[in-house]
């Protein structure tokens, strides 16, 4: 067996011409021709396997990217002002397909234009992910609105149990400075001044989201969102 294959491999050109095999059909399929002009011989099994592999890989890639984008729950056409994001088009007939998918999948009823605008923060002003075990200072001014509420949610957008039982603050109950600005301390344990309670028993992995809902705000009814003042979110301490 070994002898035969060696003799075949070492067969010289003279020997080949002597038995006329280089002019026969089998010589066309030999390894000596460049790949580009070598005639094509079909390999049905190999072709099928290649197509199957391409289809499987493409499905995996397509479905997983779609899943990741939808699961992030962040519509793509966000309006970003400081650490806050707003999605004024989401939940309307002009929404992009991604936010339509996100909103219908979560059965979310959006705050419609005539009612108000919701601003969501998942990061602080320094760009760090919000952490429910830390203490945050939310200070500044909000875009003008008749009423606004600030709510602390977990990373999945659900309300959490807090020490006093409430997880939100309302603009009408706020202590303000003379110029109308305010300072809110968001923390687990009670603080003096404006205190937004965070989850009583939370791990860093639970995530934290602040939602600022502006009711009857001119920013939703045509006025541009650029240039409005939004509160800053600063991390003041972590355990």
């Amino acid at each position: 067996m070994t002898d035969q294959s060696v003799s075949h491999a070492t067969r010289g050109p003279d020997q080949g011409r002597a038995d006329g095999s280089s002019f026969s059909e089998s010589a066309w399929y030999g390894e000596k021709l460049p790949r580009a002009i070598r005639p094509y011989r079909s390999h049905p099994v190999r072709t099928l396997a290649t197509i199957a592999l391409v289809v499987v890989l493409a499905s995996l890639l397509g479905i997983s990217t779609a899943y990741l984008l939808i699961e992030r729950e962040q519509p793509l056409n966000a309006v970003t002002i400081g650490p806050w994001h707003a999605y004024p088009k989401a939940g309307t007939a002009d929404a992009d397909p991604y936010s339509v998918a996100i909103y219908t999948r979560g059965a979310v009823i959006p705050l419609a234009n005539g009612e108000g605008l919701a601003l969501v923060a998942r990061e602080d002003s320094a760009g760090q992910q919000l952490d429910p075990t830390c203490i945050y200072r939310i200070a500044g001014q909000t875009p003008s609105a008749r009423l606004w509420t600030l709510t602390a949610l977990d990373g999945n957008g659900h309300l959490v149990e807090t020490l006093p039982g409430r997880g939100n603050l309302v603009s009408s109950d706020l202590l303000r400075a003379q110029d109308g600005s305010f300072q809110i301390t968001a923390a687990r344990n009670p603080h003096s001044g404006n205190w937004l309670p965070l989850a009583a028993a939370a791990k860093a992995s639970d995530g934290l989201r602040f939602v600022l809902r502006l009711y009857d705000a001119p920013v939703t009814t045509g006025a541009a969102l650029d240039g409005v003042s939004v509160p800053l979110i600063e991390r003041t301490g972590c355990p």
Binding site: R35, A58, I70, A101, A112, G114, T149, D216
Partner: protein, 186 residues
Amino acid sequence: MTLSPRFNLTVGLLAIFCLAAIIHILVVLSIPHNVQHSAYDNVAAYGPDRQFNLLPDIRPGEEALPDLDPAMKHATCRFQLDNGPVLFDASIPVSFWSIGLFNAAGEAVYSLNNRTAGAERLSMLVLTTEQLSILRENPPENLEDLIVIETEEPISGFALLRAYVPHGSRATDVDQALKAANCTGI
């Protein structure tokens, strides 16, 4: 047909990316048609159609519908314009309330709050263009005072009424006002 192994690999990768992009787009577009519970379905769990049903208070772990404000009380009413026009009528004695109209796909059709309503009382009529022209032949007396919302198609949908509760002591007042709100035919 095969130029080089590298050429084959490039063609393969291109095929994978093109096909992946098509599948990605199809998946994203098909999600709205395949959701198990839309907002329109969820609202039905709180009571019969064509009347305002008060949603339970928003508390951690027992949120009636996702993404609602715990500072507010909510009432919903499901309606189908196929069964005739809907008249929304409510009088809520608080400093802020708003109503949003949504179609069965969850898109906002119309919304207003107590300032843009221009009156203390909410009276809003939702109907199709066809129903309006029939109504005009024999108009009710107060048609001029109503906010009339015309839709081209006879939509199915729901209304979400939000009322701000300024203080716990006002909660029962707001509950009463939301329960007394009407969502009926004319």
